[in-house]
Amino acid sequence: MNVQFRPEPSASVGVKTAIADCDIHPARAANDELYPFMAKRWHEHLVAYGKQAYHGMMEGPPYPKAQPNASRRDAWPPEGGPQGSSLSFMQKQLLDPYNVALGVLNPLNSGQGLRNQDLAGAICSAINDWQIEKWTSKDSRLKGSIVVANEDGVSAAAEIRKRAGDKNFVQVLLLSRNVEPLGQRRYWPIYEAAAEIGLPVGIHAFGFGGNPLTPSGWPSFYIEEMVGHAQCQQTVLASLVLEGVFERYPKLKMVMIEAGFGWAPSLGWRLDKNFERLHSEVPYLKRKPSEYIRDHIWWTTQPMEDPERRDHLFQVIEWIGWDKLLFATDYPHWDFDEPSRVLPAGVSDANREAFYLGNAKKLYGIA
Protein backbone atom coordinates (compact mmCIF):
# COMPACT_ATOMS: atom_id res chain seq x y z
CA MET A 1 0.00 0.00 0.00
CA ASN A 2 1.18 3.45 -0.77
CA VAL A 3 4.40 1.98 -2.12
CA GLN A 4 5.96 1.42 -5.45
CA PHE A 5 6.04 -1.98 -7.12
CA ARG A 6 8.67 -4.11 -5.45
CA PRO A 7 9.58 -7.18 -7.51
CA GLU A 8 11.35 -8.85 -4.59
CA PRO A 9 9.59 -7.54 -1.52
CA SER A 10 11.78 -7.13 1.50
CA ALA A 11 10.80 -9.48 4.29
CA SER A 12 12.65 -7.47 6.88
CA VAL A 13 10.19 -4.65 7.54
CA GLY A 14 8.04 -5.37 10.53
CA VAL A 15 7.63 -9.05 9.82
CA LYS A 16 9.88 -10.37 12.54
CA THR A 17 9.02 -7.61 14.99
CA ALA A 18 6.21 -8.48 17.36
CA ILE A 19 2.90 -6.85 16.49
CA ALA A 20 -0.59 -6.53 17.88
CA ASP A 21 -3.49 -7.42 15.61
CA CYS A 22 -6.48 -5.54 16.95
CA ASP A 23 -9.12 -6.96 14.62
CA ILE A 24 -9.29 -10.74 14.22
CA HIS A 25 -12.58 -12.44 13.41
CA PRO A 26 -13.09 -15.87 14.95
CA ALA A 27 -15.80 -18.02 13.40
CA ARG A 28 -17.73 -21.08 14.44
CA ALA A 29 -17.03 -24.28 12.53
CA ALA A 30 -20.74 -25.06 13.03
CA ASN A 31 -23.53 -23.24 14.82
CA ASP A 32 -23.95 -25.96 17.42
CA GLU A 33 -20.52 -25.04 18.79
CA LEU A 34 -22.43 -22.53 20.90
CA TYR A 35 -24.97 -25.00 22.27
CA PRO A 36 -22.88 -26.15 25.26
CA PHE A 37 -22.96 -22.54 26.46
CA MET A 38 -26.72 -22.02 26.08
CA ALA A 39 -29.69 -23.33 28.01
CA LYS A 40 -31.57 -26.16 26.30
CA ARG A 41 -34.54 -23.87 25.96
CA TRP A 42 -32.65 -21.74 23.43
CA HIS A 43 -31.55 -24.71 21.31
CA GLU A 44 -35.22 -25.55 20.81
CA HIS A 45 -36.17 -21.93 20.31
CA LEU A 46 -33.61 -21.54 17.53
CA VAL A 47 -34.90 -24.65 15.77
CA ALA A 48 -38.56 -23.67 16.12
CA TYR A 49 -38.40 -19.91 15.57
CA GLY A 50 -34.96 -18.99 14.28
CA LYS A 51 -33.50 -15.54 14.66
CA GLN A 52 -35.58 -12.46 13.89
CA ALA A 53 -33.29 -9.63 12.91
CA TYR A 54 -33.94 -5.90 12.71
CA HIS A 55 -32.75 -5.85 9.14
CA GLY A 56 -35.38 -8.22 7.84
CA MET A 57 -36.54 -11.78 7.61
CA MET A 58 -33.19 -13.09 6.53
CA GLU A 59 -30.03 -14.63 7.87
CA GLY A 60 -26.56 -13.33 7.22
CA PRO A 61 -25.15 -9.93 6.42
CA PRO A 62 -27.36 -7.18 5.03
CA TYR A 63 -25.31 -6.95 1.85
CA PRO A 64 -23.61 -9.56 -0.43
CA LYS A 65 -19.82 -9.78 -0.24
CA ALA A 66 -17.17 -9.98 -2.93
CA GLN A 67 -15.47 -13.08 -1.56
CA PRO A 68 -16.91 -16.15 0.21
CA ASN A 69 -17.81 -15.10 3.77
CA ALA A 70 -16.05 -11.84 2.89
CA SER A 71 -12.85 -13.78 3.48
CA ARG A 72 -9.50 -14.50 1.93
CA ARG A 73 -9.74 -17.43 -0.46
CA ASP A 74 -6.61 -18.95 1.01
CA ALA A 75 -8.04 -18.94 4.54
CA TRP A 76 -10.26 -22.04 4.39
CA PRO A 77 -8.99 -24.31 7.19
CA PRO A 78 -7.73 -27.66 5.85
CA GLU A 79 -9.95 -29.56 8.25
CA GLY A 80 -13.09 -27.85 6.91
CA GLY A 81 -15.35 -25.14 8.32
CA PRO A 82 -15.46 -21.48 7.36
CA GLN A 83 -12.51 -19.11 7.36
CA GLY A 84 -11.42 -18.15 10.86
CA SER A 85 -12.95 -21.24 12.52
CA SER A 86 -9.72 -23.14 13.23
CA LEU A 87 -7.28 -22.06 15.93
CA SER A 88 -4.45 -24.22 14.60
CA PHE A 89 -4.82 -22.80 11.10
CA MET A 90 -5.06 -19.25 12.47
CA GLN A 91 -1.82 -19.87 14.34
CA LYS A 92 -0.16 -21.19 11.20
CA GLN A 93 -1.45 -18.54 8.81
CA LEU A 94 -1.53 -15.44 11.03
CA LEU A 95 -0.23 -15.59 14.60
CA ASP A 96 3.08 -17.40 14.01
CA PRO A 97 4.34 -15.98 10.69
CA TYR A 98 3.54 -12.37 11.59
CA ASN A 99 4.68 -12.75 15.20
CA VAL A 100 1.40 -11.55 16.67
CA ALA A 101 2.03 -10.94 20.38
CA LEU A 102 -1.52 -9.71 21.05
CA GLY A 103 -4.54 -10.65 18.95
CA VAL A 104 -7.92 -9.10 19.74
CA LEU A 105 -10.90 -11.24 18.76
CA ASN A 106 -13.97 -9.45 17.41
CA PRO A 107 -16.83 -11.91 16.84
CA LEU A 108 -19.19 -10.28 14.34
CA ASN A 109 -21.86 -12.91 13.88
CA SER A 110 -23.24 -12.85 17.40
CA GLY A 111 -26.64 -12.15 18.90
CA GLN A 112 -26.34 -8.44 18.12
CA GLY A 113 -29.15 -7.07 16.00
CA LEU A 114 -31.81 -9.57 17.05
CA ARG A 115 -35.25 -8.31 18.02
CA ASN A 116 -35.76 -10.96 20.69
CA GLN A 117 -33.58 -9.44 23.39
CA ASP A 118 -33.52 -12.51 25.62
CA LEU A 119 -32.29 -14.62 22.71
CA ALA A 120 -29.77 -11.92 21.78
CA GLY A 121 -28.46 -11.93 25.34
CA ALA A 122 -28.25 -15.74 25.46
CA ILE A 123 -26.30 -15.95 22.20
CA CYS A 124 -23.96 -13.11 23.14
CA SER A 125 -23.22 -14.64 26.52
CA ALA A 126 -22.61 -18.03 24.87
CA ILE A 127 -20.18 -16.39 22.44
CA ASN A 128 -18.28 -14.87 25.33
CA ASP A 129 -17.93 -18.30 26.97
CA TRP A 130 -17.04 -19.82 23.59
CA GLN A 131 -14.23 -17.27 23.09
CA ILE A 132 -12.63 -18.48 26.34
CA GLU A 133 -13.21 -22.17 25.65
CA LYS A 134 -12.16 -22.27 21.99
CA TRP A 135 -9.64 -19.44 21.71
CA THR A 136 -8.23 -17.46 24.64
CA SER A 137 -7.69 -20.42 26.98
CA LYS A 138 -5.88 -22.26 24.19
CA ASP A 139 -3.58 -19.46 23.05
CA SER A 140 -2.55 -16.75 25.49
CA ARG A 141 -1.78 -14.32 22.65
CA LEU A 142 -5.50 -14.07 21.93
CA LYS A 143 -7.86 -11.86 23.94
CA GLY A 144 -11.63 -11.71 23.61
CA SER A 145 -14.20 -8.95 23.23
CA ILE A 146 -17.35 -9.02 25.34
CA VAL A 147 -20.30 -9.06 22.95
CA VAL A 148 -23.62 -7.86 24.33
CA ALA A 149 -27.27 -7.52 23.37
CA ASN A 150 -26.68 -4.00 22.14
CA GLU A 151 -30.29 -2.83 21.99
CA ASP A 152 -30.96 -3.88 25.58
CA GLY A 153 -28.68 -1.70 27.66
CA VAL A 154 -29.69 -3.23 30.98
CA SER A 155 -28.91 -6.85 30.09
CA ALA A 156 -25.84 -5.73 28.17
CA ALA A 157 -24.51 -3.96 31.26
CA ALA A 158 -25.17 -7.08 33.36
CA GLU A 159 -23.17 -9.22 30.90
CA ILE A 160 -20.30 -6.72 31.02
CA ARG A 161 -20.23 -6.68 34.82
CA LYS A 162 -20.35 -10.47 34.88
CA ARG A 163 -17.00 -10.44 33.04
CA ALA A 164 -15.37 -7.83 35.30
CA GLY A 165 -11.76 -8.67 36.03
CA ASP A 166 -11.72 -11.61 33.62
CA LYS A 167 -8.36 -11.35 31.85
CA ASN A 168 -9.69 -13.26 28.85
CA PHE A 169 -11.39 -10.04 27.71
CA VAL A 170 -9.87 -6.69 26.78
CA GLN A 171 -12.84 -4.74 25.42
CA VAL A 172 -16.59 -4.55 24.94
CA LEU A 173 -17.69 -4.87 21.32
CA LEU A 174 -20.46 -3.01 19.51
CA LEU A 175 -21.14 -2.61 15.81
CA SER A 176 -21.67 0.72 14.06
CA ARG A 177 -25.17 0.15 12.63
CA ASN A 178 -27.76 0.02 15.37
CA VAL A 179 -31.37 0.98 15.80
CA GLU A 180 -30.29 4.49 16.84
CA PRO A 181 -26.99 6.43 16.77
CA LEU A 182 -24.81 5.10 19.57
CA GLY A 183 -24.84 8.26 21.66
CA GLN A 184 -28.53 7.73 22.52
CA ARG A 185 -29.45 7.03 26.13
CA ARG A 186 -30.60 3.47 25.53
CA TYR A 187 -26.90 2.58 25.10
CA TRP A 188 -25.58 4.48 28.11
CA PRO A 189 -25.75 1.51 30.53
CA ILE A 190 -23.22 -0.22 28.25
CA TYR A 191 -20.79 2.69 28.56
CA GLU A 192 -21.34 3.01 32.28
CA ALA A 193 -20.54 -0.68 32.85
CA ALA A 194 -17.53 -0.65 30.54
CA ALA A 195 -16.07 2.42 32.23
CA GLU A 196 -16.74 0.83 35.62
CA ILE A 197 -14.83 -2.38 34.84
CA GLY A 198 -12.13 -0.43 33.02
CA LEU A 199 -12.47 -1.82 29.49
CA PRO A 200 -12.61 0.21 26.27
CA VAL A 201 -15.64 -0.09 24.00
CA GLY A 202 -14.78 -1.06 20.42
CA ILE A 203 -17.17 -0.05 17.66
CA HIS A 204 -16.68 -2.21 14.60
CA ALA A 205 -18.06 -1.38 11.15
CA PHE A 206 -21.18 -3.30 10.05
CA GLY A 207 -24.21 -4.20 12.12
CA PHE A 208 -27.85 -5.05 11.84
CA GLY A 209 -29.91 -2.08 13.00
CA GLY A 210 -32.50 -2.31 10.27
CA ASN A 211 -31.61 1.06 8.73
CA PRO A 212 -30.41 1.42 5.13
CA LEU A 213 -26.66 1.32 4.66
CA THR A 214 -26.54 5.04 3.96
CA PRO A 215 -28.45 8.01 5.39
CA SER A 216 -30.20 8.45 2.03
CA GLY A 217 -31.32 4.91 1.24
CA TRP A 218 -30.02 1.65 -0.14
CA PRO A 219 -27.04 1.81 -2.53
CA SER A 220 -26.49 -0.45 -5.54
CA PHE A 221 -23.00 -1.77 -4.95
CA TYR A 222 -20.86 -3.53 -2.37
CA ILE A 223 -18.22 -0.88 -2.94
CA GLU A 224 -20.72 1.64 -1.59
CA GLU A 225 -21.09 -0.37 1.58
CA MET A 226 -17.32 -0.52 1.98
CA VAL A 227 -17.01 3.24 1.61
CA GLY A 228 -20.14 3.84 3.65
CA HIS A 229 -18.56 2.48 6.83
CA ALA A 230 -16.73 5.77 7.19
CA GLN A 231 -19.98 7.72 6.87
CA CYS A 232 -21.76 5.52 9.40
CA GLN A 233 -18.90 5.78 11.86
CA GLN A 234 -18.98 9.57 11.59
CA THR A 235 -22.65 9.52 12.55
CA VAL A 236 -21.83 7.30 15.51
CA LEU A 237 -18.92 9.41 16.67
CA ALA A 238 -20.78 12.71 16.35
CA SER A 239 -23.64 11.22 18.34
CA LEU A 240 -21.34 9.98 21.11
CA VAL A 241 -19.70 13.37 21.44
CA LEU A 242 -22.82 15.53 21.14
CA GLU A 243 -24.99 13.46 23.46
CA GLY A 244 -22.35 14.06 26.13
CA VAL A 245 -21.27 10.44 26.58
CA PHE A 246 -17.66 11.43 27.30
CA GLU A 247 -18.73 14.17 29.70
CA ARG A 248 -20.86 11.65 31.58
CA TYR A 249 -18.26 8.84 31.52
CA PRO A 250 -14.93 10.66 31.59
CA LYS A 251 -12.89 7.48 31.90
CA LEU A 252 -14.51 5.82 28.89
CA LYS A 253 -12.19 4.87 26.03
CA MET A 254 -13.47 3.86 22.62
CA VAL A 255 -11.96 2.22 19.56
CA MET A 256 -13.17 2.88 16.03
CA ILE A 257 -12.62 -0.42 14.23
CA GLU A 258 -12.38 -0.89 10.45
CA ALA A 259 -13.96 2.37 9.40
CA GLY A 260 -10.85 4.35 8.48
CA PHE A 261 -9.40 7.38 10.19
CA GLY A 262 -8.61 9.78 7.32
CA TRP A 263 -11.93 11.52 7.90
CA ALA A 264 -11.27 12.24 11.57
CA PRO A 265 -9.77 15.73 11.15
CA SER A 266 -12.53 17.02 8.87
CA LEU A 267 -15.23 15.71 11.21
CA GLY A 268 -13.44 17.39 14.10
CA TRP A 269 -13.17 20.70 12.25
CA ARG A 270 -16.81 20.63 11.23
CA LEU A 271 -17.98 19.77 14.73
CA ASP A 272 -15.84 22.49 16.30
CA LYS A 273 -16.99 25.15 13.86
CA ASN A 274 -20.65 24.41 14.44
CA PHE A 275 -20.11 24.08 18.16
CA GLU A 276 -18.88 27.64 18.30
CA ARG A 277 -22.24 28.79 16.96
CA LEU A 278 -24.60 26.21 18.42
CA HIS A 279 -23.11 25.36 21.79
CA SER A 280 -26.22 26.57 23.61
CA GLU A 281 -28.02 23.58 22.13
CA VAL A 282 -25.62 21.18 23.90
CA PRO A 283 -24.59 23.21 26.94
CA TYR A 284 -23.43 20.14 28.89
CA LEU A 285 -20.38 19.91 26.62
CA LYS A 286 -17.51 21.60 28.42
CA ARG A 287 -14.92 21.25 25.70
CA LYS A 288 -14.70 21.45 21.94
CA PRO A 289 -15.94 18.27 20.22
CA SER A 290 -12.52 17.57 18.71
CA GLU A 291 -10.98 17.49 22.18
CA TYR A 292 -13.26 14.64 23.23
CA ILE A 293 -12.36 12.80 20.04
CA ARG A 294 -8.65 13.18 20.54
CA ASP A 295 -8.77 12.18 24.20
CA HIS A 296 -11.24 9.30 24.11
CA ILE A 297 -10.90 7.66 20.70
CA TRP A 298 -8.43 5.08 19.39
CA TRP A 299 -8.47 3.85 15.78
CA THR A 300 -7.61 0.53 14.19
CA THR A 301 -5.70 0.90 10.95
CA GLN A 302 -7.19 -1.64 8.56
CA PRO A 303 -8.19 -0.96 5.81
CA MET A 304 -5.23 1.38 5.91
CA GLU A 305 -5.66 4.81 4.37
CA ASP A 306 -3.68 4.93 1.12
CA PRO A 307 -3.35 8.50 -0.18
CA GLU A 308 -1.26 9.23 -3.26
CA ARG A 309 1.13 11.30 -1.19
CA ARG A 310 2.44 9.83 2.03
CA ASP A 311 2.84 13.25 3.63
CA HIS A 312 -0.96 13.53 3.57
CA LEU A 313 -1.17 10.31 5.58
CA PHE A 314 1.33 11.62 8.09
CA GLN A 315 -0.56 14.91 8.44
CA VAL A 316 -3.77 13.07 9.27
CA ILE A 317 -1.98 10.90 11.81
CA GLU A 318 -0.41 13.95 13.40
CA TRP A 319 -3.90 15.38 13.96
CA ILE A 320 -5.09 12.13 15.52
CA GLY A 321 -1.87 11.35 17.39
CA TRP A 322 0.61 8.54 16.78
CA ASP A 323 -0.39 7.24 20.21
CA LYS A 324 -3.95 6.51 19.08
CA LEU A 325 -3.49 4.10 16.16
CA LEU A 326 -3.79 0.33 16.59
CA PHE A 327 -2.53 -1.97 13.85
CA ALA A 328 -5.06 -4.54 12.62
CA THR A 329 -5.18 -7.11 9.81
CA ASP A 330 -8.91 -8.01 9.79
CA TYR A 331 -7.96 -11.69 9.39
CA PRO A 332 -9.45 -13.77 7.78
CA HIS A 333 -11.37 -11.20 5.76
CA TRP A 334 -10.49 -10.44 2.18
CA ASP A 335 -9.34 -6.88 2.78
CA PHE A 336 -6.58 -8.16 5.10
CA ASP A 337 -3.67 -5.75 5.62
CA GLU A 338 -0.24 -7.38 5.45
CA PRO A 339 1.80 -5.81 8.28
CA SER A 340 5.01 -5.17 6.34
CA ARG A 341 3.15 -3.33 3.54
CA VAL A 342 1.10 -0.87 5.53
CA LEU A 343 3.32 1.95 6.78
CA PRO A 344 5.30 3.94 4.23
CA ALA A 345 8.93 4.82 4.88
CA GLY A 346 9.69 7.88 6.95
CA VAL A 347 8.23 6.85 10.32
CA SER A 348 10.41 7.05 13.42
CA ASP A 349 11.23 3.84 15.28
CA ALA A 350 9.25 5.02 18.30
CA ASN A 351 6.13 5.79 16.26
CA ARG A 352 6.45 2.54 14.34
CA GLU A 353 6.63 0.55 17.58
CA ALA A 354 3.63 2.41 18.99
CA PHE A 355 1.64 1.85 15.81
CA TYR A 356 2.31 -1.88 15.58
CA LEU A 357 2.33 -2.87 19.25
CA GLY A 358 2.86 -0.31 22.00
CA ASN A 359 -0.45 1.57 21.74
CA ALA A 360 -2.44 -1.66 21.80
CA LYS A 361 -0.62 -3.07 24.81
CA LYS A 362 -1.16 0.14 26.71
CA LEU A 363 -4.82 0.53 25.80
CA TYR A 364 -5.69 -3.10 26.44
CA GLY A 365 -3.60 -3.39 29.58
CA ILE A 366 -1.24 -6.09 28.37
CA ALA A 367 2.14 -6.19 30.07
Binding site: P9, Q67, D74, W334, D335, F336, D337, E338
Partner: protein
Amino acid sequence: MTRHVIAPVDELPPGTRKFLTIDERPIAIFNIKGEFFGLLNRCPHQGAALCEGPLIGLAQSTDPGEIEYTKLGEIIRCPWHGWEFDIRTGQSYCDPKRFRARAYPVNVEPGSSVVKGPYVAETLAVSVESDYVVVDL
Protein backbone atom coordinates in the same frame (compact mmCIF):
# COMPACT_ATOMS: atom_id res chain seq x y z
CA MET B 1 17.95 -17.80 -17.45
CA THR B 2 17.72 -21.43 -16.42
CA ARG B 3 15.28 -23.98 -17.79
CA HIS B 4 13.41 -26.04 -15.22
CA VAL B 5 11.23 -29.05 -15.83
CA ILE B 6 7.87 -28.84 -14.12
CA ALA B 7 5.94 -32.00 -14.93
CA PRO B 8 4.92 -34.33 -17.72
CA VAL B 9 2.25 -32.67 -19.79
CA ASP B 10 -0.37 -35.26 -18.91
CA GLU B 11 0.00 -34.43 -15.23
CA LEU B 12 -1.21 -30.91 -15.97
CA PRO B 13 -4.43 -31.32 -17.94
CA PRO B 14 -6.45 -28.30 -19.07
CA GLY B 15 -8.09 -26.49 -16.17
CA THR B 16 -5.41 -27.44 -13.63
CA ARG B 17 -2.61 -25.52 -11.99
CA LYS B 18 0.54 -26.60 -10.20
CA PHE B 19 2.38 -24.79 -7.42
CA LEU B 20 6.10 -25.20 -6.81
CA THR B 21 9.13 -23.38 -5.50
CA ILE B 22 12.19 -22.91 -7.67
CA ASP B 23 15.29 -21.15 -6.31
CA GLU B 24 13.19 -20.05 -3.32
CA ARG B 25 10.72 -18.40 -5.65
CA PRO B 26 7.08 -19.53 -5.41
CA ILE B 27 5.81 -20.32 -8.90
CA ALA B 28 2.50 -21.44 -10.32
CA ILE B 29 1.95 -23.07 -13.70
CA PHE B 30 -1.48 -23.11 -15.33
CA ASN B 31 -2.93 -25.14 -18.18
CA ILE B 32 -5.73 -23.07 -19.67
CA LYS B 33 -7.45 -24.84 -22.56
CA GLY B 34 -4.18 -26.50 -23.55
CA GLU B 35 -2.04 -23.38 -23.25
CA PHE B 36 0.53 -23.18 -20.46
CA PHE B 37 1.21 -20.10 -18.35
CA GLY B 38 3.57 -19.43 -15.48
CA LEU B 39 3.40 -16.74 -12.83
CA LEU B 40 5.33 -15.79 -9.75
CA ASN B 41 2.93 -16.79 -7.01
CA ARG B 42 3.23 -13.55 -5.10
CA CYS B 43 0.95 -10.59 -5.58
CA PRO B 44 2.89 -7.34 -6.15
CA HIS B 45 0.36 -5.51 -4.03
CA GLN B 46 0.72 -7.07 -0.55
CA GLY B 47 2.41 -10.38 -1.22
CA ALA B 48 -0.50 -12.86 -1.15
CA ALA B 49 -0.27 -16.21 -2.94
CA LEU B 50 -1.76 -14.68 -6.07
CA CYS B 51 -2.26 -17.91 -8.01
CA GLU B 52 -4.59 -19.42 -5.43
CA GLY B 53 -7.26 -17.02 -6.65
CA PRO B 54 -9.99 -17.77 -9.18
CA LEU B 55 -9.55 -17.39 -12.94
CA ILE B 56 -12.15 -14.96 -14.20
CA GLY B 57 -12.78 -12.77 -17.25
CA LEU B 58 -12.12 -9.10 -17.79
CA ALA B 59 -15.06 -6.73 -17.38
CA GLN B 60 -14.51 -3.49 -19.28
CA SER B 61 -16.72 -0.60 -20.16
CA THR B 62 -16.13 1.99 -22.84
CA ASP B 63 -19.35 3.85 -22.11
CA PRO B 64 -21.79 3.79 -19.21
CA GLY B 65 -24.23 0.93 -19.76
CA GLU B 66 -21.93 -0.93 -22.17
CA ILE B 67 -20.03 -3.78 -20.56
CA GLU B 68 -17.72 -6.16 -22.37
CA TYR B 69 -16.60 -9.38 -20.74
CA THR B 70 -13.55 -10.84 -22.46
CA LYS B 71 -10.44 -12.93 -21.76
CA LEU B 72 -12.65 -15.52 -20.11
CA GLY B 73 -10.61 -17.64 -17.69
CA GLU B 74 -7.44 -15.67 -18.40
CA ILE B 75 -7.56 -13.15 -15.57
CA ILE B 76 -6.23 -14.24 -12.18
CA ARG B 77 -7.93 -12.56 -9.24
CA CYS B 78 -5.91 -12.28 -6.04
CA PRO B 79 -7.39 -14.28 -3.15
CA TRP B 80 -6.95 -11.36 -0.75
CA HIS B 81 -7.86 -8.01 -2.23
CA GLY B 82 -9.18 -9.06 -5.60
CA TRP B 83 -6.52 -7.38 -7.74
CA GLU B 84 -6.82 -8.69 -11.30
CA PHE B 85 -3.91 -9.67 -13.57
CA ASP B 86 -3.77 -10.89 -17.17
CA ILE B 87 -2.24 -14.33 -17.01
CA ARG B 88 -0.60 -13.88 -20.44
CA THR B 89 1.31 -10.73 -19.62
CA GLY B 90 1.08 -10.27 -15.87
CA GLN B 91 -0.60 -6.99 -16.59
CA SER B 92 -2.71 -5.63 -13.79
CA TYR B 93 -6.13 -4.38 -14.80
CA CYS B 94 -6.89 -2.50 -11.61
CA ASP B 95 -4.17 0.07 -11.95
CA PRO B 96 -1.99 -0.86 -14.93
CA LYS B 97 0.57 1.83 -14.28
CA ARG B 98 1.24 0.68 -10.78
CA PHE B 99 1.40 -3.09 -10.61
CA ARG B 100 2.43 -5.92 -12.87
CA ALA B 101 2.67 -9.53 -11.73
CA ARG B 102 5.75 -11.28 -13.00
CA ALA B 103 5.00 -13.66 -15.86
CA TYR B 104 7.42 -16.39 -16.85
CA PRO B 105 7.64 -17.96 -20.31
CA VAL B 106 6.41 -21.55 -20.28
CA ASN B 107 6.95 -23.99 -23.16
CA VAL B 108 6.22 -27.58 -24.00
CA GLU B 109 9.34 -29.41 -25.17
CA PRO B 110 9.94 -33.00 -26.20
CA GLY B 111 10.92 -35.16 -23.26
CA SER B 112 14.06 -36.47 -24.88
CA SER B 113 15.59 -33.01 -25.30
CA VAL B 114 14.85 -32.18 -21.69
CA VAL B 115 16.34 -35.21 -19.96
CA LYS B 116 19.52 -34.86 -21.99
CA GLY B 117 20.18 -31.28 -21.00
CA PRO B 118 21.94 -29.86 -17.95
CA TYR B 119 18.65 -28.82 -16.33
CA VAL B 120 16.69 -30.34 -13.49
CA ALA B 121 15.20 -33.24 -15.38
CA GLU B 122 16.81 -35.84 -13.21
CA THR B 123 14.13 -35.38 -10.59
CA LEU B 124 11.45 -36.14 -13.15
CA ALA B 125 12.97 -38.93 -15.18
CA VAL B 126 9.92 -41.13 -15.45
CA SER B 127 8.74 -41.32 -19.02
CA VAL B 128 11.08 -40.19 -21.75
CA GLU B 129 8.38 -40.61 -24.36
CA SER B 130 6.02 -38.20 -22.76
CA ASP B 131 6.34 -34.45 -23.18
CA TYR B 132 7.35 -32.35 -20.21
CA VAL B 133 6.29 -28.91 -19.14
CA VAL B 134 9.30 -26.70 -18.53
CA VAL B 135 9.66 -23.17 -17.22
CA ASP B 136 12.38 -20.59 -17.78
CA LEU B 137 13.45 -18.65 -14.71
